[in-house]
Structure formats: C-alpha cells, structure tokens
C-alpha cells in the first residue's frame, strides 16, 4: 500500500475530507487507477488538472514512476509559470 496525501481542498471534494488515503499500487499509473476506483472522479481530476510530487520532485505528467510504501506522495495543482 502507498500513502497518497491530498490537499484539504481536494480531500473535501473527493474523499470526505480524508487528506491521506492508502491504495495498492507499484507505480503512478496504478495509483491513479486505484484512486479513481476508490474515490470516483479523483483519478480523472489528477490526470487532467493536477501534478503529483514524489519524494519532493513535482511531476507535471506523472504516469510510469514507481512508488512504494516509503514514497512521500502529494497530489498538487499543476504549476506553470510566467
């Protein structure tokens, strides 16, 4: 199981306010699928509008990265810049 941390805004929208959720996944693709299955709409929202940060590195297009139970995983809005 991996621990995925959501912002409190995202949590209120999709997980009844639960900011840390646990899903079974070995990579980000599986993680997003599992989140979508557990919390309908969340996986889609992550793919469309969000980034995932793994161990401090923000990934704007997360997909194949491996994750494990020691990974620090945050779901964030996408960041661009001027």
């Amino acid at each position: 199981m991996v621990k995925v941390v959501l912002t409190s805004g995202t949590a209120q929208q999709f997980t009844d306010g639960q900011t840390a959720v646990h899903v079974a996944a070995n990579n980000v693709r599986q993680m997003i699928q599992a989140l979508e299955a557990g919390f309908p709409g969340l996986g889609t929202a992550i793919q469309q509008t969000m980034s995932v940060a793994i161990d401090g590195v923000i990934l704007p297009d997360p997909y194949l990265e491996t994750v494990n139970e020691d990974s620090e995983i945050f779901v964030l809005p996408k960041i661009g810049g001027g």
Partner: protein, 755 residues
Amino acid sequence: MNEQPKQFKWVGTRTIRPDGVDKVTGRAMYGADLTLPGMLQGKVVRSPHAHARIISIDTSAAEALTGVKAVVTAADMPEADSKLVAAGEAMINFRDLAHNVIARDKVLYDGHAVAAVAATTNDIAERAAALIKVKYEVLPHVIDVLEAMKDDAPVLHDNMFTGGVKPKPEKASNVANRVEFGMGDVEAGFAAADLIIERKFTTEPVHQAYIEPHAVVADMGQDGKVDVWCSSQGHFMVRSFCAGLLKIDMSKIKVSAAEIGGGFGGKTTVYLEPLAIMLSRKAGRPVRMAMSREEVFRGSGPTSGAAMTVKIGATKDGRITAGDATLYFQAGAFPGSPVGPACMTAFTPYNLDNVRVVGFDVVSNRQKVVAYRAPGAPISEYAVESIVDELASKLGIDPIDFRTKNAALEGTKAAYGVTFGAIGMQETLDAAKATEHYKIPLGPNQGRGVASGFWFNIGGESCAGIRINEDGTVALSEGSPDIGGSRASMAIMAAEVLGIDVNKVKPTVVDTDAIGYHFVTGGSRVTFATGMAVVDASKAVVDEMRARVAKVWEVDIEGVVWEDGHARPASTNVGDFDPMSLAEIAAIANKTGGPISGHADINAKGAGPAFGTHICDVEVDPETGFVTVLRYTAVQDVGRAIHPGYVEGQLQGGAAQGIGWALNEAYIYDKNGCVDNPGFLDYRVPVASDLPMIDAILVEVPNPTHPFGVRGVGEVPIIPPLAAVNNAVAAATGTRFTALPLSPPAILAGMAAKN
C-alpha cells in the same frame, strides 16, 4: 551529481550572446518585422462595453469597402471542445480560450475581440473595422473581486458553478473554484502565539507591459497548410492552440518563433494568431496583425488583483506558530487565476507546522488574466511578508534574524506538502545580512525594508539537436523562444560538454516542423530543461565521436575518452595514439560512418525550488507622499549561473517590475467598467530616472538534478519587491500600508489617518 566549478571553462563566463549583434544593429526580426509578398494588414474590432450581449454583427459595409479582403467573426471559428489545456500558469478550458480570442454571444470585458478584418493597407483595415456594426444589449457589469462574489452580482457565466466545494452549488456564481491547502493545527498554533497580527490586503491587476505588442503573420495556402510567424513564448503552444481552435491538423501548421520583445508570461497564450489564420484562409493571402499599445492593455491579460486576509502568530522569541490566509483572486472574464500557486507559495519561505490557506478564483468583467512572472506568488507573499516584517518589528527582532529563525531548510516540509531537498533560503538571508547595503545608516524620512520570496520553478518538455559541421563548427537546434539571452546559455553548455570554443557553437531556435515539442518559455524552465536537453544531446555527440575514433584506432569505445575537445586513449594500455580534435573527427566523418549528430528529447524533472531575499531603502516625501527608491539589493539562490550577466539581469529586471507593481502600476476602470489608462502615459511602468542601481548578488546552491546545478532564475526576483518596498515605506513613515500601489495620495492619506 554536480560537476565541480573548477572544471568549467565556459560555464560561469560572460560570453557575447550569439544573437547580440543582430539586436544592437536593428537586424533582428521581431513579430511585426516580417513582410510577405501580397501581405494584408489585419485589425480587430473590440467591445466598447464591459458586459453586453451581442445582438447582431453587420459586416456588409466593411466588406463593400475597396481593399477589404476578408472579415471574420466567431461564426468563422468552430465551437471549441470543453477540455482543459495548460496555458502558462493554470489550466484553461479550450472553450474559454476560444471565446476569449473572439467573443461569441456575449462580450465580457472592455476590449474583448468581436470581429477582425484584413485589407490591403492599415488605413483601409482601420476604416473597415469602424464600419463593422455590432448591436449590443448592455448588461450590468462587475469589476471588483469582492463585489463579484456577492449574491446579487451580475453573473458572467450562467453555467458556472463553484468547483472545489461539496455539495455542488445549485446556483451559478462568479466564484469559479475554491482551493484549500494546509497542515498541522492552526488553532493550536495561534493559541501558542505571544503575538498575533491579522490584516486585510489588496493589490491591483498589473500588466506584463512587454515593450513589443503582440504581432503575427499568418499565411495559409490553397492546400490548407499554414505558416505562422509570431512573437510568442511558445511557438509549439501557438501550433497546439491554433490547431485545436481551428480544427486543423498540427502537421499542417508550421510556426516560426520571431525574436520576442518581452513576454514575462503574457505571451503564453494566443490572441491574434487564430484570427490571422482565419483571415488568411478567407482572403487567400498572408495577413499581418499587430496590436496597438491600447489593444495590449485592453485586449490581453494582466495578472490578477486580489483581496486577502492574512493572520500570523509568533512567540516572543520569534518563532512563527501558525499562519492562516484567505485569498480572493480576480481571474478576469474566464476562470483561471493563479490563486492555486499563490496559496502554495504564500508561507513557503518558512518552516511552519501549522498552516492553512484558502483561495477563491473569481471571474469579473475584466481582461482574462494570463501568467505574469511567478504567477500569484508576488501577491500572496506580499501580504505574508508584510506581516512577517511587522511581527519582527513589534517583537524587536531584526527582520533578517526573524526570517532566519523560521527559514525553510533542506528537509523542511513545505506548506504545500513536499519535503525540500537542497535549497538556499538561509544562504540568501546570510548574504543579505552581510551586504554593505544593510549597514548604511538612514536619514530622516528614510526606511529600509526586507522581504523574501519563493517560487517552485518547472521542468517540462524540451529537445535539442547538435550537429557537427564538416569544418568542426557546431549547429545547435532547440525550440525555446529566447526571451532574455538563453541562446547564450545553450551555447555555453554545449561548448562546455564538447570542449570547444563557445564561438564555434551556433544556437538556433528552430520552427515547429524541425524539432520535437517544447513547453513554453516560462516557469523559469529554459536554462534548466532545454539546457538539460542540450547537455544530453552534446553527450550523445561525444559518445558518437568516441565511437568513430574507436573504429579508427581499432579499439573498444571504452578505450577512448573525451577531454578538452579531443579524443584521447583512456590509458597507455589502449595504445599510443595522438589525440584527435573535434575538427579532425569532423573532417573524416564521411569515412567513419557519415555525418555526426546527437539528439535529446526529454520531459525534464527535478527543477530546483528557488528563494530570494531583497533589501530596499526608500525616502518618503512627507509633503507629497512621493516614494523615492534610494538603494536596492536582490539576493537569490540561482543554483549555478551559466551566464552571470544575464542571470543578474533577471534579478534586476524582476526587481524593477516588482517596484513598479508596488509603487505605480494599476488598471483603472471608469464607471462603465472600461479601462481608463490603456497607455504608457497613464499606466506608468518604472523609467530609468525612477530607479537606482540594483545590486544583484548570486548565491549558488547547486540543484542536484541538473548536470551543471542550474535552478530556474527568472521568476523569484519579482516576488520580494512588493513587500520589501511596503516594509521600507512602513519604516520610513511609521505607518503600515495594506494596499498597492503605494501612490502618493494613498501614502498621504495613510499618514494623515495615523496623525
């Protein structure tokens, strides 16, 4: 791993930029400088109303005018799909993008495009534009962000329901979205505080105010293929957006990046480009369009203005116990303000346990905002840094020492969640404290302000191609429009890896047909991400050259090393061979396997977060309220400066923009919701006589994920000035101000209220 500075021959030197001579002799070609045979001139018809329903558009009189070759309206653009795309800072809905390019059904702000015309001369195009009769039903409008949130406010989009809240609202409103970030227990944090300060702040929308107005030339042939030449921060973005909006295959659109006369985020979307293509398609001739300065202000995006409430608590010994902020950001006419990044950056210079930030993205009848340098961060960090300064002052602690007690360090968990690796926040504080500037005594009516700032920086898609020419010179291709000297950095990095003279490397920003996709020049990403692609491509070329030499020497590739621009035997065991230079290898390339090239196509990860600390001295005239900036120092962790001259330039230019934001700049609207100051006379950006020299101090804490340690540089410098100026004015006047800009009347009023 980072390579050691002592090994560098070119990294860190101040080379002459490869595009420099063209730019000091007038030869460089910008957006409006291209003329094609048979080219027409295009003009846009813009809404004179802040909010109105379009009843009808009569183009017949314009079309009848001699010399008019095409007129287009929203009816000529297919209705766009409702899908999200990345546009500079935030996600934007493709349908909103289409409706911003040309209004459909309703106009939502003064200056909103409603039609466009192409004619044989500018003069005829202007007369034709005046002949296009648009019948409007004027609707009530709303400009202010808090007014727009009221229940009885005119609603811009009757299909927009606030996102990010549960349950979903039943009534449409101007609040597009609510976001929330936080950690720890904010209430407990405040309970542990000895001093709590809470204030409300406002900032006004400010424009990027690049000196080159938007400009494009589009030419569509009978076969449906289009060539586009434009001033943009991303020619791949232009291709992607035009293809999507006009439903044309990407392979049929070739976009070339003109030299770009400034952007600062404002050229990360499209305005004229789709219209020029539509006009060219209809007229069968090339069309040039260029905005006037007034159109730039009325028809292109500034950044948000905001209303904010910020509350911070600290202990007597200067440790922050909790921070709480609520941010209301103007998005302009369509959703997509930078309130998300504003929330995420607000408290991030500090190592805090208890933080909560709530943000609202609010539409109103203003120009749709677009990215502006560190989108959102200058606004929220202005409010936080102003209160941090007030806390330090009330607790009797030096403002740099106060920040040191709370600074984010390696291993700190940022308020937006992630744990930092190697960062240089503390190093910027130390360097600031050590400056001569910080020790200079101040006179009467003078004050000194300090503020820090944080920006994420991004990576993203970049590519590079390195080709070794027959004579041993090097052609470097990449696709990031060069907005401030990036070709100089690319040449330096390639020369460093290849071990040759930097002047042998010619970097070119090539068109969208010639290289793979690049994300926009923005997010302080180019020297980091495109630089990483250049390094990878250069390394691939080195490996290919080693392989060629290995064939000649009849040894394994491991037997050949690359040093100082030469292939050499790895050891005496390999054999006794004379080193071969890059030029010698190039000369026999046809005999060893053909032309030599290397490529890299990457999605760069691991952009290093960056921090800066600024010091500002001001003098306030007590009779007029006029603020003079006396001294200014900008310190920043830049990872590693590839070309220090252009890195310093980023710090100095960002600081100047931030000073303008703090003191002068604001959109002003009349009672009808129309922009009252759409020109440089009334929208005053800092001029040379407004500013002192700006000392740029580069701190280098290398980013471990980049081969040379590069962090993005361009965005951080615009963040600290707003609060640095505000804090300096507070010190000079003894009055805390909470609204920007700090115009003379505002300062006089504030000082009068205190007395």
